[in-house]
């Protein structure tokens, strides 16, 4: 792989949330290891999927990457620069290039601002427009781009449906012509019939502007549809990295296999042909994760070594990595 192709590289990233006891003399009694030593890269123009169940740390990854949260340790290299070392006042410049779309379009928009104020704010903050005429023109452009009408500009968020609100969120993210967009479960709060519209919109925008996406979701069907490569995360660790086709046709990690088999497929004829792996138990607490491989208490193929030694990510086939003692 050519190094010039890489837009963002994450090296040994850790994010621990301290647990404190006591109010006056608070003691540090432990950590929630939300993200625990993960490394990956994102290539220019690709859509990288990050999939996992609730509590696996995927949203924390999103927030740390755009520095809404400070990492505990590790490097995030964006266009050759380690952004974890950038001081707060330089961050603003960086944010032009990286933006985020949130899951819940109901809480991500300020209810007291009109759509034009919401989309216009980043334009003003970053001084990319010189006067209000220019600003209005840009707002209209953006609205049109995401499939909203010009007259929507003066309305408030509560006047819109979920799908339309997500369009507003996308327009705001696009306002500064970013290179990289982190989409954190952008379709999960939407109705089924509207979900496809937003997915299509994101794909169209990617083609038009050459955007790079980190697409985070728990929905494997959506990830399957939109992503080029996929990362599978479990309890703060990456367990598998593979190109789309490869991951779905030959998943290596038992967790990925279980995850894939648990997704119901909308076709009664496929039913008999699939083998279902039903996992036992729940996802353990990230405060006190299991020893060795974190998946071992739920793994159908557990061996002695699994509870003792933590497996490392290994490249099994070209571009296909997994962290499992079976491979």
């Amino acid at each position: 792989m050519d190094n010039n192709d890489i837009l963002l590289e994450v090296r040994n990233l850790k994010k621990y949330f301290p647990i404190k006891r006591g109010i006056v003399f608070s003691r540090h009694v432990g950590d929630v290891k939300a993200v625990d030593n993960i490394s990956f890269n994102i290539r220019k123009g690709e859509t990288l999927g990050l999939v996992g169940e609730s509590g696996c740390g995927k949203s924390t990854v999103a927030r740390v990457i755009i520095r809404l949260l400070e990492p505990t340790d590790g490097e995030i290299i964006f266009e050759g620069k380690d952004i974890t070392k950038i001081p707060q006042n330089e961050l603003r410049k960086l944010r032009r290039d990286m933006q985020i779309i949130f899951q819940d379009p109901y809480s991500a928009l300020n209810p007291r601002m009109t759509v034009s104020e919401i989309i216009g704010e980043p334009l003003e903050v970053h001084k990319v427009v010189n006067n209000s005429k220019e600003k209005q023109k840009r707002i209209q452009e953006l609205l049109e781009l995401v499939g909203l009408a010009p007259y929507h500009a003066n309305r408030y968020p509560h006047e819109f449906s979920g799908g339309q609100r997500q369009r507003i969120g996308i327009a705001r993210a696009l306002a500064l012509n970013p290179k990289f967009i982190v989409a954190d479960e952008p379709t999960s709060a939407l109705d089924v019939s509207v979900r496809a519209q937003i997915i299509n919109l994101m794909q169209d925008l990617q083609k038009e502007f050459g955007l790079t996406y980190l697409f985070i979701s728990h929905d494997l069907s959506v990830i399957r549809h939109i992503c080029d490569r996929i990362l599978v995360m479990y309890l703060g660790k990456l367990v598998e990295i593979a190109p789309n086709e490869e991951l779905y046709s030959s998943p290596l990690h038992p967790y990925t296999q279980a995850l894939l088999s648990a997704v119901p497929i909308p076709d009664p004829e496929v039913l008999g042909k699939r083998k279902k792996v039903i996992l036992l138990g729940d996802v353990p607490s990230p405060v006190n994760p299991p020893s060795g491989c974190r998946f071992h208490p739920r793994c159908p193929y557990v061996m002695d070594v699994c509870s003792k030694v933590e497996p490392q990510l290994k490249e099994i086939k070209k571009g296909h990595f997994t962290a499992c003692h079976l491979h």
Binding site: A196, R224, L271, L279, D282
Partner: protein
């Protein structure tokens, strides 16, 4: 669909909500039948009336909502004509319901045991000791490990999946003939979803129980239902057996849904999104509710609200072009 004895027969049910903005026809003339041991799926998006249909069967609709007309025949007797006293005997005993969010359905200040035991004493008139024994049996049945110990735990000590198991244990503790599950897994992760749905399937066979599974997920319907009722804006738009719905769907909305959801097993270049959004229930048009979004729309569609017609045996469709567009 078989004719003859039905366990539950809903005839022309209408439930309206009298709000300040106007009358919301949440459920408008819904009819269906449920035979013994059958698993019926009610499929639709938020606001289509699927949950209100369930609440109406349980007679749990709260003001400003009111059941306006219709009959709900359970073993031949109309539930809507029963005094509240008698209805209380049916609720939980004969027809049970589980809800989407297991956290809000459990009382946080009582232990799991207290809550199940209360239901058993109330409905079956057992004394406290035998009720406790029965409660432990039920918890074991839904695969709660160490049930005898965990019966003294509070809801917050359980994970989401475990709480839903507790709800199922409670719902089944009186051997109901019908279990209504309203989006039972929407708040849960996929691997936990698979556990819960497999459990319901197993228990259905074991107890010879009928289920009504309410969901927006086509995949869940495909894997766990025998017959399917598709709802849109308070009305039934299609009603048939599982295979017909998926292979020979004849309503543009059902077809749209099937084509717009991303699938795990086939990767499409682009999703066929349904345009627009569901109509405002306060201001419904006086023609086909789906017409605005429908790719098959003709002039005639804007002239009337179509009737639900049987286009082939056991296949009901609310579309004037149903026969033509049947797949």
């Amino acid at each position: 669909m078989i004719n003859g004895e039905f366990l539950l027969e809903v005839k022309d049910l209408s439930t309206y909500f009298f709000t300040d903005e106007g009358i919301v026809k949440a459920v408008d003339g819904v009819s269906f039948k449920l035979s013994s041991g059958e698993s019926l799926g009610i499929l639709g998006e938020s606001g289509c009336g699927k949950s209100v249909t369930a609440l109406s069967i349980m007679r749990l609709v709260q003001p400003p909502g009111k059941i306006i007309s219709g009959e709900i025949l359970f073993k031949g007797e109309d539930l809507l004509k029963k005094p509240e006293e008698e209805m209380r005997q049916i609720r939980g005993n004969k027809i049970s319901m589980i809800f989407q969010d297991p956290m809000t359905s459990l009382n946080p200040v009582f232990t799991i045991g207290d809550q199940i035991i209360e239901a058993i004493i109330l409905h079956q008139g057992l004394d406290k000791r035998s009720a406790k024994k029965k409660a432990i049996e039920m918890l074991e049945l839904v695969r709660i490990p160490e049930a005898e110990k965990r019966i003294n735990d509070y809801p917050h000590q359980f994970s989401g999946g475990m709480r839903q198991r507790v709800m199922i244990a409670m719902a089944l503790s009186c051997n109901p003939s019908i279990l209504i599950a309203d989006e039972p897994t929407t708040a849960l992760d996929v691997t936990i979803q698979a556990q819960i749905l497999e459990l319901i399937k197993l228990l259905r066979k074991e107890f010879q129980m009928s289920t009504i599974l309410i969901t927006h997920d086509m995949g869940i319907v495909a894997e766990y239902c025998d017959n399917v009722l598709v709802m849109y804006a308070g009305k039934v738009v299609e009603y048939a057996d599982l295979k017909t719905i998926f292979k020979h769907s004849a309503h543009p909305y059902t077809i749209g849904l099937l084509e717009s959801v991303p699938r795990l097993d086939v990767r499409r270049e682009r999703l066929n999104a349904i345009e627009g959004q569901p109509p405002d229930l306060v201001a419904l048009p006086n023609y086909c509710y789906y017409a605005e979004r429908c790719p098959y729309r003709t002039k005639e569609c804007l002239e009337q609200i179509p009737e639900l017609v049987e286009i082939e045996k056991g296949h009901l469709v609310r579309c004037i072009h149903g026969e033509k567009i049947r797949r």
